[in-house]
């Protein structure tokens, strides 16, 4: 055996020499040093990557990831190279004839290769460590450098070397080996990725490997198993290569031992793979079983917990919990269902000191009280249980693909954090209500009945005895009457409580009777020293921040404590369909992930540095250091203001792009609403969310999201709601990203009539006052609707009938808004009028809003606030909406269809020039004839006209074209036109600024050789002199660069054909008005048809095809072109599109 190792060592030593001296390796080394050096500099010094500053293990993690991919590729070549070399050179034979065995020889060769890479890795990691120490100082995680080397570098290299050696020995062709293994790497890296629970992720690119400084890896056991799979497979393949090695073995018998060893390793590796996958499958199965159990017991009698007092003792990683509960049956019965984390062992359940019979079905506890309990009869009983939680109970409502989807860290490439929903170890415990760490009445998530999801306010108390030296955190005032035992008494009733125990330190401050605190893990205080110099002003700043939020949400903060609690990096939360609150938001506290790594706003030092740099460069006004600190402090918490976060831009097919958005887990709104109010409904569990979203209307990013996605989420939701009922859509997990929008639209449907009758502001105030009078109480949705309905004199239950079937949406044609100035005897009046027609068979409401010049200052100063009201339309009804204004006239008409077929759903129309008039129309809404929307002598053909508007076929043909067509069918018809990435084929988009009636759309295409065309065929009513207009909405490059590009010609090329004549017309876009009809020319047309063709030949990046208008001058007379014209009027043409005709 000693000789075995001696020989292996000898061969390895000399193989290493060869490798180190080879040019290939030298080049790789230089590239690796330069690449990783630059990368490290970028991360540690240039960018000062915030997540790495917070979680120092990220640096060695990402460093090793990059290195291991590079060396995996190089090692394929090198591993096959020595076999090729052996094959080519007789010289190898002088070694083959030595007494060393095949195993010694091949293992020596492989070890020789591996050890060079290992040594190189360690050397580079050493350099990385030095850089890390210089950049991060004491925060550097020294051990991680070794840990990631062992977890990432070693298994990857052993596997890839084993694989390439084996393939090389079987196919005996280095080039082919290289192609196969490289292809395999590419396939797993770019295609397979994290499929099958990361099973094929031998490079470790997707499997979460972030190490929290608080709790380490998210799932070390699973990670180790995963890495061992590839280490074992690599060893197995090496054994097979020894067997297959083309040199006569020393002993025939011993040779056959190697496939046995190989099989052993491979079987072991495969077993690891199976157990890895089965772990996930088991989790899925258990979760399915839990949901099935919930479905089975969802209608069992339930209790409302009136009060609950916990006595909790930490015993190592275990918890011993006693919960004294006072409950009241919601309906009478003797057996009541509770839900408790299945990881806990129930030691006893007693009532008045006597054991109570109970049945445990995984997470469900069916307690048989032995007698019939009447509704609202108080029953006291005690739960005693112990053990550790089982995380599999968490998020049963979240689709599996979302649960296993890995969490990437924004701003730090490649790394994944892993997801944990709870933690329970000797030195750290984090239990949120999602874990069901305490018995809660009823069942958990049921996919068949919303009955499961009832939340009630309970009076909680908690006594916690943590392990020595650790600090417990929960809701309520904390006291330590007995050393080592802490009591928590919340001021109000709460819907849920959480428990956190860890090595926490705390800084706190009382401001206006509210205790603000930061509870951080010992050693993680990176902020105190930064703000030391402005500590006196911190209370005032906190007061301002609180006011900012309260003003923004129009709600006040209801608790007497507010704290940031630092939790491990892997703590993951999901948005839910029924609440805005994610688990990271608990009553009175925000669970902030490790040092706030996911919020750049909390990088105080980085922000201050940036502010100072900006000041030096003149981007910011000069400020003192104290002012910068104060401003940084105030702005740092703004991340809690946005409903959405993590915008993900994704480039799609053929120039399309999309923007995905995630809900912000730190959105602070729930502290002011969800934890304070509880609107419940047995039939509509989304009741609370519905009211919550109604209060937040206007707090969304719909407009700029639609600029990228082509449709707003509300519009997408409306398209779906025409197909399926709201009730059905709520249960369809594949559309869960639009759930908020379904609910939002439904809230518009529900409250539109009430708002119309009471006025928008009064309705909102009434709703709020009802909700507010039920603070920290349970408020029935039905009671709320009934009360509101009485106030508004309408039946608010009626719109809910629409939720049970696909929505029937109104469709509006919008006339041109007009503002006129009228002099009366008493005063001058500005008269704003607009005609709107509901052309559908269904009634509807729309929100009509007028903005004034001074409206933009109205939030801060005395400006005139925008005026808004709701207008009702019967089917086929046309209304003229008139309003009178004295001091200012409206400059912008904002029409929001609320729930309509119109695209865009919300349109902003400029009022245009104020003209003088003598006709005073009475204020209000009057039903008028639809003739008000028609213009005599004008014919408009829009791109929406399926008969009169045609596009040329896409330039590609054959299979590719077919495939593209097929792949495009999945998307919505409308997308967004990105000027920096114009589409390769005609692509439809909607926008406020395009021409259209109910759908304002246009087609855009990348400019080219002119082979792509859009053609409008205009049926003329009469022959004669016509002015031909094109509706021009300039491409963004001209809109954004109005002056810079003027020297270059920017033209569209049209061809007009009529009665055998053909005429080319060039439209100079630089000289044309934007968002208006521009004249192409005046023609004496003696035929009944005119065709206008726009080609994609242009100096611009994109050509947009919108609408063409023919105006018969003989009929309307010559008239000056209006400089700015609002959206045109019209009616449907023969093709279902829009043709405007004046008779």
């Amino acid at each position: 055996m000693i000789q075995f190792f001696r020989n292996v060592h000898t061969i390895a030593k000399y193989e290493s020499k060869l490798l180190v001296r080879s040019w290939f390796f030298k080049v790789f080394s230089v590239l690796a040093v330069l690449g990783l050096g630059g990368f490290s500099y970028g991360l540690l010094f240039a960018e000062q990557n915030w997540p790495i500053n917070c979680i120092p293990s990220l640096y060695p993690y990402v460093f090793m990831l990059i290195l291991s991919v590079g060396q995996a590729v190089v090692s394929i070549f090198l591993a096959s190279e020595y076999l090729k070399r052996d094959k080519q050179l007789d010289t190898s034979e002088v070694f083959y004839v030595r007494p060393s065995s095949n195993a010694e020889y091949l293992i020596g060769k492989i070890w020789g290769t591996l050890r060079v890479f290992f040594a190189f890795d360690l050397l580079l990691l050493g350099c990385g460590l030095i850089l890390s120490v210089v950049a991060l100082g004491t925060v550097t995680d020294y051990l991680s450098f070794l840990v990631y080397f062992l977890l990432l570098g070693v298994p990857t290299l052993v596997f890839i070397v084993g694989l390439s050696t084996t393939i090389m020995l079987f196919i005996r062709n280095q080039a082919l080996t290289f192609v196969i293994v490289l292809g395999y790497i590419g396939l797993t890296l770019f295609y397979i990725g994290d499929y099958y629970y990361y099973l094929f992720d031998y490079l470790g690119f997707n499997i979460p490997m972030t190490q929290s400084t608080i709790t380490g890896f998210s799932d070390f056991e699973s990670l180790l198993r995963h890495r061992l799979i590839y280490l074992l497979l690599g060893c197995g393949l090496i054994c097979f290569s020894i067997f297959k090695f083309g040199r006569l073995p020393n002993s025939k018998k011993k040779r056959y031992a190697w496939p046995v060893y190989g099989s052993f390793f491979i079987v072991l590796g495969l077993w690891g793979g199976v157990s890895h996958v089965s772990g996930f499958l088991r989790q899925e199965r258990i979760q399915t079983e839990m949901v099935a159990l919930n479905n089975e017991h969802v209608h069992d009698p339930k209790m409302v917990i009136d009060s609950c007092a916990f006595d909790i003792q930490q015993n190592g990683a275990d918890l011993l919990i006693r919960a004294d509960i006072a409950g009241k049956p919601v309906q009478s019965g003797s057996v009541f269902t509770f839900c408790l984390n299945p990881g806990f062992e129930i030691t006893e359940i007693t009532r008045n000191g006597s054991p109570v019979s109970h049945t445990r079905l995984r997470h469900l506890v069916l307690i048989d009280f032995g007698e019939n309990l009447e509704q609202d009869e108080t029953v006291n009983f005690t739960f005693a249980y112990r053990g550790q939680i089982d995380e599999r109970i968490c998020y049963l409502d979240i689709p599996e693909e979302l649960l296993i989807q890995n969490e990437k860290i924004n701003g730090t490439p490649l790394v994944t954090t892993g997801k944990r929903y709870a933690f329970q170890s000797d030195n750290y415990i984090l239990l949120t209500p999602e874990t069901y760490w305490y018995p809660r009445p009823g069942v958990s998530y049921s996919d068949q009945s919303p009955d499961w999801q009832q939340s009630y306010f309970t009076r909680y108390r908690m006594k916690v005895t943590p392990a020595p030296g650790l600090m417990p955190i929960s809701q309520g005032m904390r006291t330590e009457n007995v050393p080592g035992t802490f009591e928590f008494v919340p001021d109000q009733r709460l819907q849920s409580v959480s428990l956190i125990i860890g090595n926490y330190k705390e800084v706190s401050l009382m401001v206006d009777s509210i205790e603000y605190s930061v509870k951080y893990i010992d050693g993680h205080d990176y902020f105190s020293s930064t703000f030391k110099s402005v500590s006196d002003t911190i209370p005032a700043l906190i007061r301002l921040i609180k006011q900012d939020f309260e003003t923004n949400f129009k709600l006040d903060y209801p608790f007497s404590r507010f704290s940031f609690v630092e939790v491990p990096a892997q703590f993951a939360t999901y948005s839910r369909t029924w609440t805005m609150a994610q688990e990271s938001m608990q009553p009175e506290m925000v669970l902030l992930r490790e040092r706030g790594y996911d919020q750049w706003g909390l990088n105080f030092n980085g922000r201050i540095k940036w502010e100072k740099e900006a000041m030096t460069r003149g981007w910011r006004e000069k400020q003192t250091d104290e002012q910068i600190l104060a401003q940084t402090f105030r702005n740092s918490f703004w991340f809690m203001n946005d409903k959405n976060s993590n915008f993900e831009y994704e480039e799609g097919k053929l120039g399309r792009a999309s923007m995905m958005v995630q809900e912000n887990p730190y959105y602070v709104f729930p502290q002011m609403f969800n934890f304070r109010y509880n609107i419940y409904s047995v039939q509509w569990p989304i009741a609370n969310r519905l009211v919550e979203l109604f209060f937040q209307q206007g707090q969304n990013n719909d407009q700029w999201m639609r600029n990228i996605n082509g449709l707003s989420n509300d519009e997408k939701a409306l398209l779906m709601m025409q197909e399926r009922s709201f009730k059905d859509l709520l249960t369809e997990v594949e559309h869960r990203d639009l759930i908020n929008n379904f609910i939002n639209i439904s809230s518009s449907q529900l409250f539109a009539e009430g708002q119309m009758k009471m006025g928008i502001a009064a309705f909102r105030d009434s709703l709020f006052s009802i909700v507010k009078s039920n603070e920290f109480k349970n408020l029935s949705f039905e009671y709320l609707l009934d009360s509101l309905g009485k106030l508004a004199s309408c039946d608010l239950f009626k719109p809910m009938e629409m939720w049970m079937k696909p929505s029937q949406l109104p469709e509006y044609l919008l006339g041109t808004p007009k503002v006129t100035s009228i002099q009366t005897r008493e005063k001058d009046i500005y008269q704003a009028e607009m005609v709107i027609s509901n052309i559908s068979e269904f009634p509807g409401y729309l929100k009509f809003q007028l903005h004034f010049n001074s409206s933009y200052d109205s939030d801060m100063g005395p400006g005139l606030k925008p005026r808004q009201w709701i207008v009702h339309f019967d089917p086929k009804e046309t209304k003229r909406i008139v309003s009178h204004w004295e001091e200012e006239y409206p400059i912008l008409f904002q029409i929001n269809g609320l729930y309509a077929k119109n695209l865009p759903l919300a349109v902003n129309l400029s009022a245009g020039n104020v003209e003088e008039s003598r006709i005073l129309i009475p204020e209000g809404e009057q039903s008028v004839s639809s003739d008000f929307l028609q213009n005599k002598g004008e014919i408009v053909v829009d791109n929406e006209d399926s008969l009169l508007f045609k596009l040329s076929d896409p330039p590609t043909s054959g299979l590719l074209n077919h495939w593209i067509d097929k792949s495009m069918q999945e998307d919505f018809k409308y997308t967004a036109l990105q000027n920096w990435r114009p589409p390769f084929r005609w692509t439809a988009a909607t926008d406020n600024s395009y021409y259209g009636l109910s759908i304002r759309s246009a087609y855009g295409i990348r400019s080219g050789d002119g082979s792509q065309t859009a053609t409008w065929t205009i049926p003329l009513e009469q022959q004669g002199k016509h002015e031909i207009y094109y509706y021009l909405r300039k491409p963004d490059e001209l809109r954004w660069n109005r002056h810079g590009g003027r020297r270059e010609p920017k033209e569209y090329n049209f061809t007009l054909s009529y009665g055998g004549y053909t005429e080319d017309v060039t439209l100079d876009l630089n000289r044309s008005e934007d968002n208006s009809w521009v004249l192409l020319g005046t023609y004496n047309i003696d035929s009944d048809t005119l065709t206008v063709t726009l080609s994609n030949k242009s100096q611009l990046r994109m050509v947009i095809a919108d609408a063409v208008k023919a105006v018969n001058i003989d009929q309307v007379g010559k008239r000056p072109q209006r400089r700015r014209q609002g959206p045109p009027q019209g009616r449907f043409g023969p093709g279902g599109g829009r043709v405007t005709i004046r008779h």
Binding site: N7, T10, K17, L18, L89, F95, L248, N250, S251
Partner: protein, 298 residues
């Protein structure tokens, strides 16, 4: 006897019968293995150095069965292949050290001494730090023999060792082999250069088409060829006639005629032909020719 070969056969997967029932005994000392290209020399060598498995037959090397006791055989074996190039990135000393280590010379001090001595012996000590790729052809060949000898093997197999060497290097190399063979070592020298054998081998075998044509000492082989080599002077026409019937092994122009040497049992019709004392090359031709005739007659 150091090596005993019994009924050795090698049939390649393509059906080529490279060795046919070869029986041969190789004593210690320098043993020459002679034969034309394709005779099976290299196959035999590769079998002897355990790089190739025979199809059937037995080989015993110093009492070890080559098929069953390869490790033991490899331990006493040194091998210098014909096309001996180097891993360009090894230094002379490293290469030799590598070979020594793999041959079981574990004691570092002794190994370093052995390497130094061997480099002295083959005249490469001065260039020990030079990369092997920078050596001349002769130096490379000497380094080749050095690696084959470094662990003092009992059997050394060298394949075409002098091909491509200049005369001085060739003589030097032969002398080196002769010195080594004096130490009770078996050296099998496979070559098609007859001169290598005549000047150094005490025993030899002649292989042709996988069969043993001759086994014995070079002198014995010469003896067999005595009276079979003729020298005569011929005209152009006669030359053409003779050349068609017999192998002509030397041709010297002599005015309008040719002075030639011919290998033949009898040379009838040429009275001026006189017997000429054969050398090993003549003998080799004689053997090859007579075997060829036998096959043709078969």
């Amino acid at each position: 006897m150091s090596i005993v070969i019994k009924d050795l056969n090698k049939i390649y997967p393509n059906g080529h019968h490279a060795l046919k029932n070869l029986n041969l005994t190789i004593p210690s000392g320098m043993f020459g293995l002679l034969g034309p290209n394709g005779a099976g020399k290299s196959t035999l060598m590769r079998i002897l150095v355990a790089l190739m498995e025979p199809s059937s037959g037995e080989v015993e090397v110093y009492g070890y069965n080559l098929l069953r006791e390869r490790k033991e055989v490899r331990r006493i074996l040194g091998y210098l292949p014909q096309d001996f190039r180097f891993f360009a990135k090894y230094k002379v000393q490293e290469f030799l050290d590598y070979a020594a280590r793999l041959s079981g010379m574990n004691n570092g001090r002794l190994r370093r001494k052995a390497v130094g001595d061997m480099l002295e012996q083959v005249g490469l000590y001065e260039v020990r730090e030079r990369y092997a790729s920078k050596l001349s052809g002769g130096m490379k060949r000497r380094l080749g023999i050095a690696q084959a000898l470094i662990h003092q093997p009992k059997v050394i197999i060298v394949d075409e060792p002098t091909t491509g060497l200049d005369p001085e290097e060739r003589i030097r190399f032969r002398n080196l082999l002769s010195q080594i063979s004096a130490n009770d070592t078996t050296i099998i020298l496979s070559t098609h250069i007859v001169g290598d054998i005549s000047s150094s081998c005490t025993d030899m075998a002649l292989l042709n088409r996988g069969e043993l044509s001759f086994n014995g000492s070079p002198e014995e082989m010469l003896k067999r060829a005595e009276g079979k080599v003729w020298r005569l002077r011929v005209t152009d026409e006669q030359y053409r006639e003779i050349n068609e019937k017999y192998p002509v092994i030397a041709t010297i122009p002599c005015g309008m005629e040719w002075d030639i040497q011919v290998v033949a049992d009898k040379l009838e019709g040429y009275d001026n032909a006189v017997n000429y004392p054969p050398n090993l090359e003549h003998a080799y031709v004689y053997f090859m020719e007579s075997k060829l005739n036998l096959w043709l007659n078969d």
